[in-house]
Symmetry: C2
Subunit: 582 residues, 2 copies
C-alpha cells in the first residue's frame, strides 16, 4: 500500500508547531482515508468525554486515496471531530476544489490539535506549511475572509465565518465561498481553536497505480450519470427531489408536523431553475456540474447572486417554516454560507421556534418579535442574530435539542440532530437511517429514500425487513466517505456498487481490493463510530421524536405513522446485525 | 435528416417582426450547421459588397446538430457575418452556456437583419421570442448589461459592450460575462443594428438519434483528454502553450519583431496559475474545465477577480507589447471582456502603435501621451479610450491595418487581421494558416502549431510540403465549427479525427455520415468562404507582412525567415488544391 501513501500535516496550535508525518500504513489499510481514517484517529487520540469545544478535541481534515485522481467525482474532503451539537463523532464532507488542491499541495490530510492563543490561519503552499496571524480576518465573513487571503495567496480557502468564531453549535466550514462541510458544528470546533481558515495550493502529482483503468472505470460512471434526459441532474441539481417528495407526502412541513406543503410548487427545483438559475457550476473535474448559480430579482428585498440552495435547504427554510418565498430561501442560504452555518439545522431550529411560539412556549418577549409560520423577514433576521449569538439568536445557536430541552419542549431530532428533508413516516427507511446514523439524523449515511422514493424498489411505508439493506448501505457509504467519492454522483453513475468501488480503489492503489474486503472495511468504519459514541456516553439506540408515532395529519401519506413496538423490534434487529445488544 | 432539424428564429429589426422558420433541409445536409450553415446563408442572402456596418449585413447566430447533446465538448455557438475589420466573411464562436441554452430555448439559430430604430434586446424564453426596449441598457458594459437583464430574466446573456455600440471594428459579443465570440468585429455589427443583447433559456429536449452511442463516443474523447498528467489542460488551460512557444522562439514579441521574450517566465501559464488562479470553470457539461478564475493581488493597481486571460491574450498584451506585468494583462483582459473587444486585435494594435511611436511615425501629440514598450499603465488607458473611441482610441478602434495604412506604415496583419500567438517564421505552418484563413490571420482555422510545436510530427521550420496537411486540417476544422464541437477539447481528446467526427454526427442525426462525406462537406464550407471573399473583392492570396521575409533577429529561431519565392510557390500549390488559380 506504499504507492499512494502520502503525508499528513500535524498542527499543534498550542505551540504553533507544524510537523510532517507519513500516513499510518496499517490505518490506511484498515480504514482507507477520509471518514475511516478520521474516526480511527479520533478514537485512538481524543481524550475520553472531552468537551468538543475544548483544545483537546482533535479536528481532522482528510482526503482519501481516490481524491483528485483521474477518476470521477473525487473532489471531496472530509472533516472528523467530536460534534459540539450532538457530542457524537462527526464526519462532514465538502466538494469544490479544496480536497484535490490539498493533495496537490502535498498532503493527504491535516490533523489539528490544541488552541492558538491568538487567531491564526494556515497556508499550505506546495509542500510548505505556515501558520499566519489572522487577527485582521477575525470577524470577517466567509466571502471577505476568502477574498482577503486570496489577495496574497491564490489558494483554495476553507474558512469559518462569524458563526464559527462564536461557536454556534452548528457552524460549518466553507470552501470556495459556498461549499460546506455543513453538519454538526465542525466550524465551531475550528473557531474554538482560534483557527480561522486553511488555504491550500500546489503542483504535486497525485500517485495512481493504473490511471488508464481508473479512467475506464470513470467512464462507466459518467455514462450512467448522463442517462436521458442527461442533463436533469446537471441542470436542476439536488433540488429536483423536492417535487417528488411532496408528491408522496414526505416533504417535511411545519416543523415535521406533516409531509405535504400546499405551496411546494413555489419552491421546487424546477421553479428555482426556471426563475433563478443563470449557470451551472462544477467541482474539480466533474462533468455533471450539479451546482447552480442563482440570482434573485430586482424587486426582491435584496438582489443577490449566490450558489445554491441545495434541496435540503429548500426544505429547512422553505416548507418546514411554511415559507414559500423562494427569494428569501436563496437569501437565507447565502447568509448561512457567508456567516458559516449549517442550513439544515438553522432552518429547522427556526421552524421549531415557530412552533414553540405558536404553542405559547416561546413568547414575543423571548424572541424579541413575533415569529409566525412563513414569516420570511423574521427568518432572515434570526439567521443573522444566530451567527452573532445576539438576543434570541443565542438560544438558536444552541440548536433544536437544547432550545427545546430548556423549556421542556420536544424537538424533532434524532440524537440531537435535526433531520434533513424526508418525513420519517412517509419514507420509513429514512426513520431508521436517521435513528442509526452515528452523527445523528442524516441523509448521507444511508440514503434509503433513493430506493424508497426514486427507484421505488422498496416499499417506503414499511419498516420491518429493511435492517439488512440499511446496514449494507451504511457500510457502503462509509467506504464512499473514506476513499472519498461524491455520493450524489456515484449514485447517479454506476460506481456506487461494491464491485465498482473496489475496482476504483484497486486501480488507484495497486492493491487488490475486493467486494469482501471493502464490506469488511465499511463495517469496521461504522463500528468504530458506534464505539466512539458508546465511549462518549451517547451510544446505543436513540429515542426518536414522538411525532413519528403519531399519524400524519395531511397529504398523500395522511394517516401514516411508525408503530412503536415494531420500531423497537426493528432497531433491536438492526443493532444485532452490528453485533450489539443494547 | 428530419429528426434533428430544428427551428430558426428570424428577426427583422427594421420592422421589429419575429418569425419562425424550419432549418433548410438541403443546407443542413450540405453544410451541417454553425459556420457552414452561416456562410451558405450569407452567400445567398447578403447583398454583394455591402458595408458590414449597414443594416443589410446579416448577423447569424447558429448552433449545430451536435450542440448540447449528451456528447462531449459541445457548448459552442457560432456567429457569421461580414467582418467590419477585414471585409471578409466572418465566423466566430464562443463556449459557455449560451449555445446549448439557445437550443433548449427551442431554436437552432437566430438570423438577424436590418437595424432597429431604437436600441433593443432579444429574449428567447422557452420557445417564445420577444424584442424589448434596451434604452436603459445602452451604454452599459457587458457585466452591467448581463446583470440588469438577469434581474428580470434568468437566461444566458450574449451581449455587446460600449465597444460594440461604438462600432469598434474588433468589438466582440460576450456571453457569461467572459466568453467571447471575439475576432473580427461581430460585436460592431450587432451594435450597428442597435441590438444590445440576446438572452436565452428553455426546457426543450435536444433531439438525438442514438444517445447511447453518442455517449460512448464521448467517453473515448474524455479518456484522451485526461491523459497523464490528466489535469494539465484542466488546470492551466490554454496558457500552458506560452512557455513552449517561447522555448522554440515562436512567441510573438515587440509587435512580431522577434519570437523570443526575455521576460516570458513572468507571464507563462504556469506563473499565471501559480500566482493568480483560484479555481477552474467549465462550459456546459465539460469534464475538463480549462477556464480559470484569476485574481490579482492587493498591491496591484486594481485588485480584481476575472475569468482568463487565455494564452493568446498573454501574448497580445504581454510579450507583443514587451509587457511583463502579469496583473496588467489580467486587467486588460478584464477590461476587454467588460467593454466587449477582441483581446488579440486590441493588444496587437497597441503593440503596433508602440512600434510606430518608437519609429517616430506616431508622436506624443498623436497618442496624447508617450507610448513606450512595456508601459502597462498606458496600455490600460488606451483600452478604455478605444472602446469609447476617444482621442487616439478612435484610431486604435479601426484596428492595425487601417491605423498603419493612414500613415503609410506597414502593419503586421494577414488580410487585415492581426495574427494570434505564433511567429510565422518560427512556426512556418502557421504562416500558411494565417495567409489562407478566409477570415484573416487565425489559429482556429488550422492549428498547424499542434503538429509543429506540440506533437512535433512536422518540421516547424519547413514551408514546402505542408499544403495538403493544411488543407485537410482546414476542412476538418470547418466541420468542427459547423457541427459544433470545441476544437481545444477535441484536439486533446480523440474526437478530432474524421472518423470520430463522422460517428458523432451519425449518432446525433441518425443519418450515415462517413469520413468521405464529411471531407466533402468540410471542403464545401471552406470553398464557400473563399467564394464569398472573392465576390466581395477580398479573395485570392493575401500579401503577408514583409517582416516574415526578414531573418528573425533573436532567440532560439534567430535567423529564421520565410523565403519569398518558396512562399509564392507554396501558396500557388495550396490554392491549386482548392481548385483555384489566382
Amino acid at each position: 500500500m506504499k504507492g499512494y501513501l502520502g503525508k499528513l500535516l500535524e498542527v499543534d496550535l498550542d505551540s504553533g508547531e507544524l510537523s510532517d508525518t507519513m500516513l499510518d500504513e496499517k490505518i490506511a489499510a484498515d480504514f482507507l482515508g477520509g471518514r475511516g481514517y478520521g474516526i480511527k484517529f479520533l478514537l485512538d487520540k481524543n481524550p475520553k468525554k472531552v468537551d468538543p469545544l475544548s483544545p483537546e478535541n482533535y479536528l481532522i481534515f482528510m482526503t482519501g486515496p481516490y481524491t483528485g485522481t483521474p477518476g470521477a467525482f473525487n473532489a471531496f474532503y472530509n472533516v472528523t471531530t467530536k460534534s459540539p451539537l450532538t457530542n457524537t463523532c462527526l464526519s462532514s464532507h465538502s466538494g469544490g476544489f479544496w480536497g484535490p488542491w490539498l493533495k496537490k499541495a502535498g498532503y493527504d490530510g491535516i490533523i489539528i490539535e490544541g488552541r492558538s492563543e491568538d487567531p491564526v490561519f494556515l497556508v499550505v503552499d506546495d509542500g510548505a506549511a505556515e501558520l499566519k496571524d489572522a487577527s485582521d480576518l477575525w470577524g470577517l465573513d466567509v466571502h471577505e475572509t476568502t477574498d482577503v487571503i486570496q489577495e496574497d495567496f491564490k489558494g483554495s480557502v476553507a474558512t469559518i465565518g462569524p458563526a464559527g468564531e462564536n461557536q454556534v453549535r452548528f457552524a460549518s466550514i466553507i470552501n470556495e465561498k459556498h461549499r460546506a462541510a455543513g453538519r454538526g458544528g465542525a466550524g465551531a470546533v475550528m473557531g474554538s481553536k482560534n483557527l480561522k481558515a486553511i488555504a491550500v495550493k500546489g503542483k504535486q502529482q497525485i500517485p495512481v497505480a493504473d490511471s488508464e483503468k481508473l479512467r475506464k472505470s470513470y467512464l462507466k460512471a459518467v455514462r450512467t450519470a448522463w442517462k436521458e434526459p442527461h442533463t436533469t441532474f446537471g441542470q436542476i441539481g439536488t433540488p429536483q427531489a423536492l417535487a417528488l417528495l411532496n408528491e408522496v407526502g414526505g416533504l417535511p412541513t411545519k416543523n415535521f408536523q406533516t409531509g405535504y406543503f400546499e405551496e411546494a410548487e413555489k419552491i421546487t427545483g424546477e421553479t428555482l431553475n426556471e426563475k433563478h438559475s443563470i449557470q451551472n457550476v462544477s467541482c474539480y473535474n466533474c462533468p455533471i456540474g450539479c451546482g447552480s448559480i442563482n440570482k434573485t430579482d430586482r424587486e426582491e428585498p435584496s438582489a443577490l447572486e449566490t450558489e445554491g440552495p441545495e434541496w435540503e435547504t429548500l426544505m429547512s427554510f422553505g416548507s418546514n417554516c411554511m415559507n414559500s418565498n423562494l427569494a428569501s430561501i436563496l437569501e437565507a442560504n447565502d447568509l448561512c454560507d457567508r456567516l458559516g452555518m449549517d442550513t439544515i439545522t438553522m432552518g429547522n431550529t427556526i421552524a421549531l421556534a415557530m412552533e414553540m411560539y405558536e404553542e405559547g412556549v416561546l413568547t414575543e418577549d423571548d424572541i424579541e418579535s413575533p415569529l409566525n409560520w412563513g414569516d420570511s423577514e423574521t427568518i432572515l433576521k434570526l439567521v443573522k442574530k444566530t451567527a452573532a449569538r445576539k438576543g434570541f439568536g443565542n438560544k438558536l445557536a444552541e440548536g433544536s435539542a437544547r432550545l427545546a430541552d430548556e423549556l421542556n419542549y420536544e424537538s424533532f431530532t434524532f440524537r440531537d440532530m435535526e433531520p434533513p428533508a424526508y418525513d420519517p413516516r412517509a419514507v420509513k427507511g429514512m426513520a431508521l437511517a436517521f435513528a442509526t446514523s452515528p452523527r445523528g439524523a442524516c441523509h448521507m449515511r444511508a440514503p434509503m429514500y433513493v430506493l424508497e422514493v426514486f427507484k421505488k424498489t422498496l416499499d417506503r411505508l414499511r419498516l420491518t425487513g429493511k435492517e439488512k439493506i440499511l446496514k449494507e448501505m451504511q457500510d457502503r457509504f462509509a467506504i464512499m466517505d473514506s476513499m472519498l467519492i461524491c455520493k450524489l454522483a456515484a449514485r447517479h453513475g454506476e460506481c456506487g456498487d461494491w464491485k465498482d468501488l473496489a475496482d476504483l480503489l484497486t486501480f488507484t492503489t495497486g492493491l487488490n481490493f475486493t467486494r469482501a474486503k471493502l464490506m469488511e472495511i465499511g463495517e469496521r468504519v461504522f463500528d468504530h463510530e458506534l464505539e466512539f459514541n458508546e465511549r462518549e456516553g451517547v451510544g446505543g439506540p436513540t429515542k426518536p421524536p414522538s411525532r413519528i408515532f403519531e399519524p400524519m395529519p395531511s397529504g398523500p401519506s395522511q394517516g401514516e405513522k411508525v408503530d412503536e413496538e415494531e420500531w423497537e423490534e426493528v432497531i433491536k434487529n438492526y443493532y444485532r446485525l452490528r453485533g450489539r445488544e443494547y
